[in-house]
Each structure stands twice: as C-alpha cells, then as structure tokens.
Amino acid sequence: MVEEEGFRRYVAHIILWIGIAIVAFPVYIAIVASTQDNALIANGQMSLLPGGHFFQTYYQTIFVGTSGSTREPVGNMMLNSLITALLIAVGKIAISIISAYAIVYFRFPFRMPIFWLIFITLMLPVEVRIYPTYKIVADLHMLDSYAGLSLPLIASATATLLFRQFFMTVPDELLEASRIDGAGPLRFFWDTLVPLSRTNMAALFVILFILGWNQYLWPLLITTRDDMQTIQIGIRKMITTTDALTEWPIVMATAVLAMLPPVFVVVAMQKLFVRGLVETEK
C-alpha cells in the first residue's frame, strides 16, 4: 500500500547521492591534496584532480615526518595511537566485565554503594576535570607514558553497565547447571559467561577502539615528548607554524592516515559497530 512511485524513488536516490557527496567531499579534497606539490597548494592553485606525488608524500609522512614543524615520523605517532587505543579498549572491557560479574552474581556488603560509585562516572567526561586529573597523573609520574594516556580514560561506567545488563538476561539455569557440574565462580565466569559475552565484547571493542584512537584533549595535555605524541596531536602541531610554512601535502596525508584505521573498522565491522553504538547509548 505504501508503495513508492517511480518518481519519488528517483528523487530519493538523488538526495542520497548528494548527501554522500557532501559527506565525502572534505575527505576527497584531503586525498587529492596529499598527492600534490606544496608550492601549488600554497599559491591557492590546487587542482581538484590527484597529482603525481602520492608515493613521495606518503613515504615522507610515514618514515620522516615534516621537515619543519614536528620532524617526527607519522608512523611512530600511529604506533602510539594504536597502543593507546588498544589499552583503552582492552583495559576498559577487562575491568568492566569482572566488576559487572561481581555486582550481578554475588551478594556482599557495600555492593550497591560500589555500583553507584561506578555508575556516577557515566556523567562526567574527562574534559570537565582535566587539570586536577593532570595533576594526579603528574604526581604519579605518568606524564609521557602509555599508562598516563590510557588509565584516566578507562575510568568510566559505560562498559560495566552494558555487561551488567547483559548478565541479567543470562538464564539462571546455566549457573545451576555448571554448579551441579562442580564449577566454582571463576570456572563459571571463564567457561560460560565470557563465551556468551563474546559479541558484546566485540561490539564494545569496536566503539572503544574508535574513541581511544580519536582522543585529543587528554593526550594534548599530558604528552610533552615528541616521540610520545599520538597522531591527532601530531597533526595539530604540523599546522602551528605560520601558514606559509605549513607543509600541506604532509598534513593532509597525516589526516588521511589518521582516518584510515577507525574508518576501516566502521566499514569492515559495520554490524558490530552499529550494535556497539546503540548499546552504549542505552
């Protein structure tokens, strides 16, 4: 009954392609710019078609870095981002799944107060408490370290809530059964709950990896050494010098490299990504 007539369908296709073009245009420009000569770009003469400097620019970006502003190979920055993102994602999942397990499957004094202590952290992103957090990380001698980059961002409740919600839906019979088989709490956790949580963990991992890779304000504050920079920080430093000296092809190549891993994750693991996004927002 609600069949679309041909004309309307045609319009829908056109609007969607316009939308896609708008969404993709800035990235297209970045890719094109990263293959062109800097002098041409600096003169405002940039062409809208790819140039011939692709290999040269990306080689220099990954292994050498800019010749002026940062001088740090972007490959190294990517490695820092990767380690940070993995630590955040794995760390958060690991500590959340065990605390959710304790809260759901045990009765112990202060269970609810502890749950609330964790729950409240949901409300405040790191941005509102940056300087006090910075001071603590400095006092703990964690500036310019992977621990300093990742630990403060692990302190949040989203994953705990998600696992708690999931554990509540796991039928009690499973626990009874494994208890009859003589399994203790840790066996039950490893052999039953963890395998059941696999999809949830994967969905969460996708979201947390993207969030971790894209962190900006926090790494900006606590990294001072060039070799500890993440790629997001590196890209900002590349455009700090006066405009005339900015090496735009390298900046744009860095932008492309910074987008590549998270965009790949979204596209390749779309189902898990959508699931993770919807679940973490509940």
Binding site: V2, L16, I95, F106, I118, R129, I130, I210, M252
Partner: protein
C-alpha cells in the same frame, strides 16, 4: 534487578571490583573532589598561601563579561550544530528508509564520518575554506563574499558550526534510520488508506512517532557540541579570532594553560560538571520513558 542464583564468597567479589574501583577513585573522584575544593580557594600571586573564600571565585566568574559570553556562545553553537545536523540527517534517513536498491550501500557510505576524529575534521575544513589557499574560498570570493574566517569572528563561528555539524551527520543518520525502521508499517499503511499523501504521512504519523529519537539525539548532540568540538576548534581557530569561537570547555583549557587563576579554572570545571549532570539527568529521564513506550 536481583538475580536468584548467586555465588557465596567473602573476598572474591571485592577482588573483582577492586581494579575498576581503584581506577575510578584515583582518576575520577579524587580529581573531581580536587576541582570542587580548589574552586573555594584563592591562591596568592606567588602560590605561597591559600585562603578559603567561599563563593568568591564563582561570583567573580559570573561578573566577568567574557565568561558570560562564552556561556551564550556555547549554547548558540550547540543549538546551531544540533538543528542543522539533525535536519540534514533526518532528510537522508527518510530517503534511505525507502525500499531502494542499494540501501545498505547508502548506509555504509553515510556512516563512516563517525570515525573521523574532531581534530582531523578541523584540519579538513580549515583546509577547504582557508582564506588564501582553500579550494572553496575561491568560489566564495567569486560570489563577492569577503571570506576570511581567520580574521572575521562570525565567519569563524559559521565554519566551526559547519564542520561540527558535518561530523555529527552520520551518528544522527544512524539513529534516525533505526527509529524509522521501528515504526510499524501498518500505521503508515492505515494513513495511506485514509488518503494521506506522503508529505502529510510524514508530518502527522512518522514525525510524532519519531519524537523520542529526536529528543534523545538533541541531548546527545548538545553534549557533543559542549565537549567534542574542542578538537575542531583547537585545530581550526584556537578560540579566535578574538574570542569569537571560545566555548566553555575551550575556556577552561586556555585559562588553565596560561597557568593563571587556579580557583577560577576549578570553578569553571565545577559549573561544567553541573551542566553535564543536568543534561544527562534529562537524558536518563527520557530513557525511562522510552522503556514504557
């Protein structure tokens, strides 16, 4: 929320919650507490003595014209980003919700910008609209617009809003699409039988049924505009020219960077905390409503 089947153990549950509790206490509660305490203290210029000054830091902050402007600016940015991004995403979602060939491809091609980091978004947009070398600036100038967002505050603000809204399209699109797909076809068919044309069907049936999603996204977008625009602003304008793109979060950052008034910067943090708590409170109320929906 009680589970019937549970384990008995005295120490194990504490060992299991310990890691998360430790991290939360050290990196969340302690700094938050520090911020609150600090906001009631005044340090002399040399950092030698501190005194308890009650709400002086807050009062001083609110008498500051720049702070007031930053609040208004932040709300204006949030509103502009949310409205522009939501309306564009809704249009795309309504189109993608139709039974079209290749609808999965459309979805893939529209959701990936979610993964682009805010600072990268800033770099992409400033490059396109850079006054001297931007690809799009040529056309703006050809249209007779004196385009220079690095000098003109209003243009800088427009640029920030545009870039921030662009990034948020994919997120909004995804949730709108999910919302649209959960609307029962039968309701739309009933409206069609009653003779409602597509446009009318959208405004009288689809749009009201979508209102929980819209409200949810409105809150999320405002929170996004509060915090995640930091990276965009920092790579594009650094809060300038003048202070025309300085939001509340950016102000906390830049005031603290100058190392000046610790008490004032802490008071700013506390005010931000209160704002976020109110926003999330609204969101939670709404989530409860969604459950009964």
């Amino acid at each position: 929320m009680q589970k019937q089947a549970i384990f008995q153990s005295k120490l194990l549950p504490y060992a299991l919650v310990a890691p998360q509790l430790a991290i939360v206490l050290i990196f969340f509660y302690w700094p938050a507490l520090q911020a609150v305490i600090q906001s009631f203290l005044l340090q002399d210029a040399f950092g030698l003595s501190t005194s308890f000054v009650w709400f002086d830091n807050y009062l001083e902050l609110f008498s500051e014209r720049a702070y007031f402007e930053a609040i208004l600016r932040t709300f204006f940015f949030s509103f502009a980003i949310a409205v522009s991004s939501l309306s564009f995403a809704l249009l795309l979602a309504v189109m993608a919700d139709k039974p079209l060939r290749g609808s999965m491809l459309y979805r893939t091609l529209l959701i990936w910008p979610y993964a682009v980091a805010p600072p990268v978004v800033g770099v992409l947009w400033i490059f396109m609209l850079h006054p001297s070398l931007g690809v799009l600036s040529r056309y703006l100038r050809a249209l007779g617009i004196d385009w220079n967002p690095l000098l003109d505050g209003d243009q800088a603000a427009a640029l920030i809003i545009l870039a921030a809204a662009w990034k948020q399209i994919s997120y909004n699109f995804l949730f709108f699409l999910a919302g649209l797909q959960s609307i029962p076809r039968s309701v739309l068919e009933a409206a069609a039988i009653d003779g409602a044309r597509p446009m009318r069907r959208f405004w009288t049936v689809t749009f009201p049924l979508l209102s929980p999603t819209i409200f949810f996204l409105l809150v999320v977008n405002i929170v996004y505009a509060f915090f995640d625009t930091f990276g965009i602003i920092d790579t594009m304008t650094r809060g300038g020219p003048g202070k025309s793109t300085e939001t509340l979060v950016y102000k906390v950052y830049s005031d603290g960077l100058l190392g000046g008034n610790l008490g004032s910067s802490a008071a700013q943090s506390v005010i931000l905390m209160i704002m976020v708590i109110v926003l999330t409170g609204i969101q939670f109320r709404f989530v409860e409503r969604k459950v009964t929906y």
